[in-house]
Structure formats: structure tokens, C-alpha cells
């Protein structure tokens, strides 16, 4: 099995007092679903944002799909990574002035020089998979949060990424909308997509994750399979966190 992401000693700090990332090392195999959990402010989002260069590194080494990345912040390497790694944000970040169809086809047409007809056919196929093909000509503001997030997933998938990063994809949703997004992600995981998911959804983590990485104060506390993590976590930290959540 090949490795999709390998990180060694990642360090990142926003201010002098505390490191957002404190020598984090990890690896993600291709086809694996890694769920990152931890209390807020523990550096989960910062961690996955380093994977596609949204945050620069202070030190440490990253290897994403065979492309090296370190504190030098090489723009060319980052662009090569971004072409192969999709990302879904907490706040959806759809383009409000473009229709759903244009939101999805913008990058395939402008970045991959795809023909418009082909890109649109692919977009409709993806929207169909997400169960929202009837919304194709609407605008983001006319959709519910759950629908918008599914469009965001389709938009990322339109570039045929090899790895998908999810940064708290359900945290901004109404509770009754969470399931439809998680179901879409479940189907994606079943299809063999390599996924790194930052989430607080215990059920999703238990069912879908291959491994759970628990972070606190910028450090990796433990990495375990979900069974082990939820039933008898190794570390005191994780147990306390789980007690609060459940």
C-alpha cells in the first residue's frame, strides 16, 4: 500500500507563546480514511491546511502524493499538490455570484482546460451522486446549508482529486442537515477515496474511519483504530475528551 501523505516534525506557530502545531508526525495510506479529532484550538484545522499549502510551515517535512513540501513554501510544488488534492471547508465557501453549475465547472474549464460540455456533463453526474441534480441552475444563497456543502464536495471532486481534505464539514450545519452530508462522505469513503477528515461527529468517526488521530495543544496524543479509541483509549487526555463529548 502506498503512502498518500507523510508528515515529519511539523511545527507552526501563529504567535510566540504557543505552537499551533508542535512537531506533528503522521502518515496517511492511500485509500485510507483518517479522522482527526480533538478539542477546539488543538491545531486540527491548521494541520490539514498545511497539507495543501494554505498554511506555511515553520519547520518539518511534508510529502503529499510524492511532492515534497517544507518551510521554504515552494509555490510551484504547492500548485502541483493543489491540483491533486481537494478540500471542503466548514463554511462551504461557494462562489455566491455563480450558479451551482458554474461553481463546479469553473476550475475544470479554467485550470484543466476541459471543454465546457464535458465539464458540465461531469458536474451533473457529480450532483446526481450527491442527490441534488435538481438544483443545478440555482445560486448558492437559494440552497440549504447541507445542499451547499454537498455542492462544495462536488466542486472539489470535479477535479478528480486523489486525496480529499475535510475541515469540519458539518460544524456549520443545522443538526437535521448533518446526515445528508455525512452520507455523501460515507459513499465517497466506500469508493476508496483517501480522506483526511477533521470532525466532531463521533458516529461518523466510529463507522467510517480507518484510524483516529487525537490531537491536543498542537501535539498528536494518540492514533488508534476507532474500536480501540472509543472503547478503551490509551491516553488519559483522550478519555477525558470522549467523556465530555458522549
Amino acid at each position: 500500500m502506498t503512502t498518500a501523505i507523510r508528515a515529519k516534525g511539523l511545527v507552526k506557530s501563529f504567535d510566540q507563546q504557543q505552537n499551533a502545531l508542535d512537531s506533528v508526525s503522521l502518515h496517511v495510506d492511500s485509500g485510507e480514511v483518517l479522522v482527526v479529532m480533538g478539542p477546539s484550538g488543538s491545531g486540527k484545522s491548521t494541520l490539514i491546511r498545511t497539507f495543501n499549502g494554505l498554511e506555511s510551515l515553520d519547520s518539518g517535512e511534508l510529502d503529499v502524493l510524492g511532492i515534497p513540501l517544507d518551510s521554504n513554501y515552494d509555490e510551484r510544488h504547492i500548485r502541483r499538490i493543489r491540483r491533486r488534492v481537494g478540500m471542503v471547508f466548514q463554511q462551504f465557501n461557494l462562489f455566491p455570484h455563480l450558479s451551482i453549475l458554474d461553481n463546479i465547472t469553473l476550475a475544470p474549464i479554467r485550470v484543466q482546460q476541459c471543454q465546457r460540455e464535458k465539464a458540465e456533463a461531469r458536474a451533473i453526474e457529480l450532483l446526481d451522486q450527491m442527490g441534488i441534480v435538481d438544483q443545478v441552475s440555482k445560486y448558492p444563497a437559494q440552497l440549504s446549508g447541507g445542499q451547499q456543502q454537498r455542492v462544495a464536495i462536488a466542486r472539489a471532486l470535479a477535479l478528480d482529486p486523489e486525496v480529499m481534505l475535510f475541515d469540519e464539514p458539518t460544524s456549520a450545519l443545522d443538526p437535521e442537515r448533518v446526515k445528508e452530508v455525512l452520507d455523501a462522505m460515507r459513499r465517497l469513503a466506500k469508493g476508496g477515496m483517501t480522506m483526511v477528515v477533521v470532525t466532531h461527529e463521533m458516529g461518523f468517526a466510529r463507522d467510517v474511519a480507518d484510524r483516529i488521530l487525537f490531537m491536543d495543544e498542537g501535539k498528536v496524543v494518540e492514533t488508534s483504530p476507532p474500536n480501540e479509541f472509543f472503547n478503551n483509549a490509551r491516553e488519559e487526555h483522550s478519555r477525558r475528551f470522549l467523556n465530555q463529548m458522549l
Binding site: L54, R82, L94, H97, R110, Y139, A141, A156
Partner: protein
């Protein structure tokens, strides 16, 4: 559901609900009536409109040669037709898509028609005048000022300190100089610096001066729009692999300009009215025609008629611009655009 009361009841409720209200209403009725009757009396009885009626072509085209006046007429009617089309064209379809191009085409079309040269009799710019010149000045300087303003606004956000500082410097200097000074500089001083035989067209000099001045204000309006775009939009675009110019073109600018549109309309209306300053500097645009007519002995003392007429003309053009901008805002509003069945 609230039932609509009968008209009489409504009048009673809105205007005469208490003795005090009734007094105020009556007083206002009296004042408005008095004002209206005086105005109407002046318009139809006192005023002598011959100064306007005899000089309609002069107001419209200035001293443009009579046998060539079909050219400005053609241009003005093309603009009017395009204006009507903009409101009447269906929301989707080829016509709607080609409207922006047609509007942009009006600029070179107007310049070519007025100046002539290729197959047409060349008319020097000193015979241009009236409403035609006012519109030409406004359209030319606005379409020159907008791109400069956008570049300045983007430059102000640039990470290179040299570019950022020089854009800020330009904007601050231009905003601290009165427009009339910029125009004087363009009309009177620049010819002194240029060699004798090189004469730059006076209209062109005015257009450049207006554009450079307006660009500073437009830059600040656009900057307001740019700042309203959350950084997450940029992040989303970056993650999709779009390059910096593509992010600007497809994600940032369309949203920023839409936010800045009301402020930009303000600038355009202001620009139109500011073109009247050129009357002082020897271009006979609308106000210039008015001034030269008033200097004519046969129309002596007809100030009120001429200025009321000019006010009406400016009001019509400004209202047209405001309507156009409101229509554009409506068109660009994504939720309104999709109410149309697809």
C-alpha cells in the same frame, strides 16, 4: 390579511387624523398649490421659450456643420435605442449577452462618427459641442477611469510596498487637488510643456484630465468592494488550483464590482455634471452653449429659461443613468436572475 380601506377613509386616516394633523396638511396643501400655480404660470405665460426652441440643434450638437449633423444624430439615437433595448431585452439569450459589447462599442463608434476621417468628412474637435460633447466627454472619461481605478485599487492591496505606496500616493494627491485645478493643468499648462508643432486635441486633454481625477475616487470605491470579499473566497479559489489572475477575474472582481456598483454610479453622475466645468475652459458642451447663447444680444436676459432648460436636460440624462444602474444591479443579483424558468 389587512383590508385596503376606501380612498376617502385612507385620506382621512393619513392626513386628517387629528386637528393638528389637519392644520399641517392644509398648510402644506396651500404651500404646494401656491408653488405649483406660480411655476405653471411662469412656464406657460411669463417665460419666453424662443431662446430654447430656436436653438435646439445648437443645444444638441453645438456648432457641428449642419450638413453633417446626421452623424451626431445617428450616435445619439443609437445610444437611445441601446438604452431601450437594455430594459426590454429578455433576461437570457443572445441579445442580452451582446448588450455589454454593444455598449462598449458605442465609445469608438461615437468618436469615429464625430471626428470622421475614414470615408467621412473630418470635423475638428472645436466644432463639437452641446449634449453630444457632454455625453462623449462623460462616456470616454468614465470608460478610461474605470480600468485605471480598478488597477489603482488592486495596486493598493499589492504586497510590494513600492506599488502599494505609489498607488496610495497617487490617490491621496488626486483627491486633495480640486478638479478645476486638474482641468486647468490639462488645458493650459500641458501645451506649454509640449513642443509648438505638437498639438494634442483639446477634447482628448479634457478626457484624460477627467479620467485621471475620477480614477482616484473610483479606486476607493472599488477598494471598498474588494474589502467586502471574505478571504475564504480567495482560499476556496486557490484550493481549486486557479492562478492569481484567474482568481481576480472570475472570483474577486465580479463580486467586488457588484458591491461597488452604487458608488460607481455616483461617480458617473458626478462626472457628467463635472463636465460642465469645461464651459469655463472653452469647450462648448451643454453649459457652454447656454453661456454663449446668453451672450447673444437677441436673447439677452433670458437666464431663467436657459438654465431651467439645462437643468431639465441634465436631469433627464442623470435619471437615465440612475435607471440603467438600478437595472444593472437587478440583473447582477443572482437570486433575482434565477426566478426565470430554466
Amino acid at each position: 390579511m389587512l383590508l385596503k380601506p376606501a380612498p376617502l377613509k385612507r385620506i382621512k386616516r393619513n392626513l386628517f387624523s387629528s386637528p393638528f394633523d389637519a392644520c399641517v396638511s392644509l398648510l402644506l396643501f396651500f404651500l404646494v398649490g401656491w408653488f405649483l400655480s406660480n411655476t405653471i404660470h411662469w412656464i406657460f405665460v411669463v417665460a419666453d421659450w424662443s431662446v430654447v426652441l430656436h436653438n435646439i440643434p445648437l443645444f444638441a450638437f453645438g456648432s457641428y456643420p449642419t450638413d453633417q449633423q446626421w452623424r451626431p444624430i445617428l450616435w445619439l439615437s443609437m445610444i437611445s435605442i441601446l438604452f431601450a433595448l437594455t430594459f426590454l431585452a429578455p433576461r437570457q439569450g443572445l441579445l442580452r449577452k451582446s448588450l455589454p459589447l454593444l455598449w462598449i462599442f458605442m465609445l469608438p463608434c461615437g468618436v469615429c462618427l464625430l471626428a470622421g476621417g475614414i470615408g467621412l468628412l473630418a470635423i475638428p474637435s472645436r466644432s463639437w459641442g452641446g449634449l453630444t460633447l457632454t455625453l462623449l466627454l462623460t462616456i470616454c472619461s468614465a470608460s478610461l477611469a474605470l480600468p485605471i481605478g480598478i488597477l489603482l485599487a488592486l495596486g493598493r492591496q499589492n504586497s510590494l510596498p513600492v506599488i502599494q505606496r505609489s498607488c496610495m500616493f497617487y490617490i491621496d494627491v488626486m483627491r486633495s487637488v480640486p478638479l478645476i485645478a486638474v482641468l486647468f493643468f490639462g488645458q493650459l499648462l500641458i501645451p506649454l510643456f509640449l513642443p509648438h508643432d505638437l498639438e494634442v486635441n483639446r477634447v482628448l486633454r479634457a478626457v484624460v484630465a477627467f479620467a485621471l481625477f475620477a480614477a482616484a475616487y473610483i479606486a476607493e470605491d472599488v477598494r471598498g468592494g474588494l474589502q467586502a470579499i471574505p478571504n475564504t473566497q480567495r482560499e476556496a479559489a486557490v484550493v481549486l488550483g486557479l492562478s492569481q489572475p484567474q482568481i481576480l477575474q472570475f472570483v474577486i472582481l465580479p463580486q467586488a464590482l457588484r458591491i461597488a456598483l452604487p458608488a460607481l454610479t455616483n461617480q458617473a453622475v458626478g462626472l457628467l455634471q463635472n463636465t460642465s466645468l469645461m464651459a469655463i475652459l472653452g469647450l462648448v458642451e451643454l453649459l457652454g452653449i447656454g453661456l454663449s447663447l446668453l451672450a447673444n444680444p437677441s436673447f439677452i436676459g433670458r437666464y431663467l429659461e436657459v438654465y431651467v432648460w439645462l437643468a431639465v436636460l441634465y436631469w433627464i440624462v442623470c435619471t437615465a443613468m440612475a435607471l440603467l444602474s438600478r437595472h444593472l444591479e437587478c440583473q447582477l443579483n443572482p437570486t433575482a436572475a434565477s426566478t426565470q424558468p430554466s
